[in-house]
């Protein structure tokens, strides 16, 4: 009860010392700061993780000089990026050029807000949770498109267009595979979905179709974050750095961080929907609720690792292969899968403990 | 229901958006801009449906359904409009309204 009580204590304390309006504003600010901090720290350490994992895959050491095991390496990088000059291009549309990174960041942050890290530790338990996540994730792409176009650089533009095509296409699969799981829960609210999973994680409850949905979700999710093997958007060998070629310093860092946070978000959604969020396996730590955070982060990081594994395993796809994969394979499979899942639920063939 | 806000205020806002859309529809010279203005007009009416449903008949859901349908139709309309615009651009390399008057003859 420790974390839960902390949030509650802070809430009560704030409302006791100042008028209601001011208290709620202060509370909002506090929560925002907390999430921003989480965003920054998680982003930085995911970058570090990526580098260490990459090194591990490639049988080398990776960053290990700054701090013990190199844990301050990315902090130092961030500091360096902050201190750098913000260059731009002449004839760029400066308003949109500057606006673009914030789209990406804001959409990631809004998505982070709805995750149930542990029992009652959730900033925004909206009753359409999953749908909200899908809605929010569809906004991030606008930032990429804007960035690519307003840079007035043809590689950036091509990267942005690719990104648009890819994200719009794979959003369908993400949405549909999540919908498949909603058939099992009967609700969109994340807290209730977690509640349902107390009878067994959804990937177990839905067995075969759920596993198919999970596989599709992971493929489509990887594609949505524009990571290898779907990183056509920033394919170095073809487009320079893709849509953020012209960005430098902190603005580049925003895109960079957002990409890693997006990866975290994809993994977190998968954790919430498929693997029971903060629920411990077989309820072994039910008596200690704050351990939920540990389980949630643990599962999420495991899935993040899976995505990194993808990156260092598979070669990049061509654009036409990318679209073929989505429209000719994933989407039809997904639709059939939904029907199968519906039949499964209808005939009560799910596995429940 | 928004505390402290009556239906009149919301309807005022939507009326303003509606006429901004009309203004844009008439004065803009570019097909895409006209499409944008149309979206504004549509959105104004959607909000009206929803708000009237919420404020006057909260037990019913007709307004919500209608707004869902309008949004769906708007999506279809936009897809078609964009397809037409792109095709037009291929043919005459322009999306200005004044280039598309050939049909009047």
């Amino acid at each position: 009860m420790k974390i839960v009580s902390i949030t509650k204590t802070v809430h009560d304390w704030l409302f006791s010392i100042m008028p209601e309006g001011a208290a709620s504003i202060v509370e909002m600010v506090l929560i925002a700061v907390a999430y921003l901090a989480f965003f920054a720290v998680a982003g930085l350490y995911l970058v570090l993780l990526e580098r260490r994992v990459a090194a591990w895959f490639q049988l080398r050491l990776g960053p290990n000089r700054v701090g013990p095991q190199g844990i301050f390496q990315t902090m130092a990088d961030a500091l360096k990026l902050v201190s750098k000059e913000l260059t731009g291009t002449i004839k760029a549309d400066n308003f949109l050029y500057n606006l673009a990174p914030y789209f990406v960041i804001v959409s990631s942050l809004m998505a982070l807000a709805v995750f149930p890290f542990t029992q009652e530790f959730q900033a925004f338990d909206i009753n359409i949770g999953i749908f909200f996540l899908i809605a929010i994730s569809s906004i991030g792409v606008i930032g990429i498109l804007l960035g690519g176009w307003s840079s007035n650089n043809k590689y950036a533009l091509i990267g942005a267009m690719r990104s648009g095509v890819q994200t719009i296409s794979y959003e369908l699969s993400v949405g549909l595979s999540l919908l498949t799981m909603v058939l099992l829960t009967g609700t969109l609210q994340l807290s209730e979905i977690v509640e349902v999973q107390k009878n067994g994680w959804l990937i177990v409850q839905g067995h075969i179709p759920a596993i198919i949905a999970f596989m599709i979700y992971m493929i489509a999710g990887t594609a949505e974050t524009n990571r290898a093997p779907f990183d056509l958007v920033e394919a170095e060998s073809e487009l320079g750095a893709g849509f953020h070629t012209e960005y430098s310093g902190m603005k580049f860092a925003y895109f960079f961080l957002a990409e890693f946070i997006n990866m975290f978000i994809i993994a977190a959604i998968a954790t919430t929907i498929f693997f029971g969020a903060w629920l411990s396996p077989f309820g072994i730590t039910d008596s200690i609720p704050w351990l939920g955070v540990f389980w949630f982060l643990g599962k999420t990081l495991l899935l993040v690792f899976l995505m990194m594994w993808f990156r260092w395993t598979f070669p990049r796809l061509r654009v036409d292969q990318l679209l073929t994969l989505e429209w000719k394979y994933l989407l039809p499979i997904n639709l059939v899968n939904i029907v199968i899942m519906a039949i499964l639920v209808w005939l009560n063939l799910t596995i429940k403990f | 229901m928004i505390a402290g806000i009556s239906i009149y205020e919301i309807l005022t806002v939507t009326s303003i958006i509606f006429f901004i859309g009309v203004y844009g529809f008439i004065t803009r010279k570019n097909l895409i801009s006209i499409l944008i203005s149309t979206e504004l007009i549509l959105n104004a009416s959607v909000v009206n449906f929803v708000v009237i449903n919420k404020y006057l008949y909260p037990t019913l859901l007709e307004g919500v359904f209608f707004s869902i349908f309008i949004i769906a139709v708007a999506a279809a309309e936009t897809a078609l409009a964009v397809a037409i615009i792109i095709n037009l651009y291929r043919q005459i390399s322009s999306v200005e309204v004044k280039e598309t008057e050939i049909m009047k003859y």
């Binding site: 359409i128 | 928004i2 958006i17 901004i20 929803v50 859901l61 869902i68 769906a72 139709v73």
Partner: protein, 170 residues
């Protein structure tokens, strides 16, 4: 509190709507429209229609705006400036719109609306049941019609956008 949020939203909506129809840069005008739409989604959140808000975000912000941006990317260059109508036409239209707005507001404020006090939240469940109900007041038929319409629009859009290449192959 909600009152303040509403006023902020209303301000955002109106300001960006005006910006959207007066900006001379194509993509900016689209982005302003996006802000308007997000603001409207905010109003939906405020009056507790979360589902609609999410639809607004998904379909409008994620679908329609992206489509429009796409078409802008395809047909528009960054250095282009939009032509605008002659000032006299702008003024006349603006006057006309103001008169129309006056008529609207006059009608609205003269109509005695009778709001019902309520704080019910509409769940997705209710919406889904209403949409797929075929009993009295059910909306399954319009629902089907809309799906057919969407299919037709999709096919039509593909055929139109594919252009003449479809028929060039003998």
């Amino acid at each position: 509190m909600e009152k303040i949020i509403f006023y902020i939203l209303a301000f955002i909506i109106v300001a960006f709507a005006i910006a959207s129809v007066s900006s001379r840069k194509m993509l900016r005008s689209v982005i302003y429209l996006l802000f308007v739409l997000v603001g409207i989604a905010g109003i939906y959140f405020l009056i507790d229609y979360n589902f609609l808000a999410a639809i607004q975000l998904t379909v409008y912000a994620g679908g329609i705006i992206v489509l429009i941006i796409f078409s802008v990317l395809l047909v528009h260059h960054i250095e282009m400036e939009l032509e605008i109508a002659k000032p006299i036409k702008q003024i006349v239209t603006a006057l006309l719109c103001l008169i129309g707005l006056g008529v609207f507001l006059y009608t609205i404020y003269n109509h005695p609306f009778q709001p019902v006090e309520n704080y019910t939240t509409t769940t997705v469940n209710e919406i889904g049941k209403g949409l797929l109900s075929y009993e009295k007041g059910g909306f399954v038929l319009p629902f089907e019609v809309i799906s057919v319409l969407l299919l037709a629009a999709m096919v039509g859009a593909i055929v139109i956008a594919k252009g003449t290449k479809l028929f060039d192959k003998k």
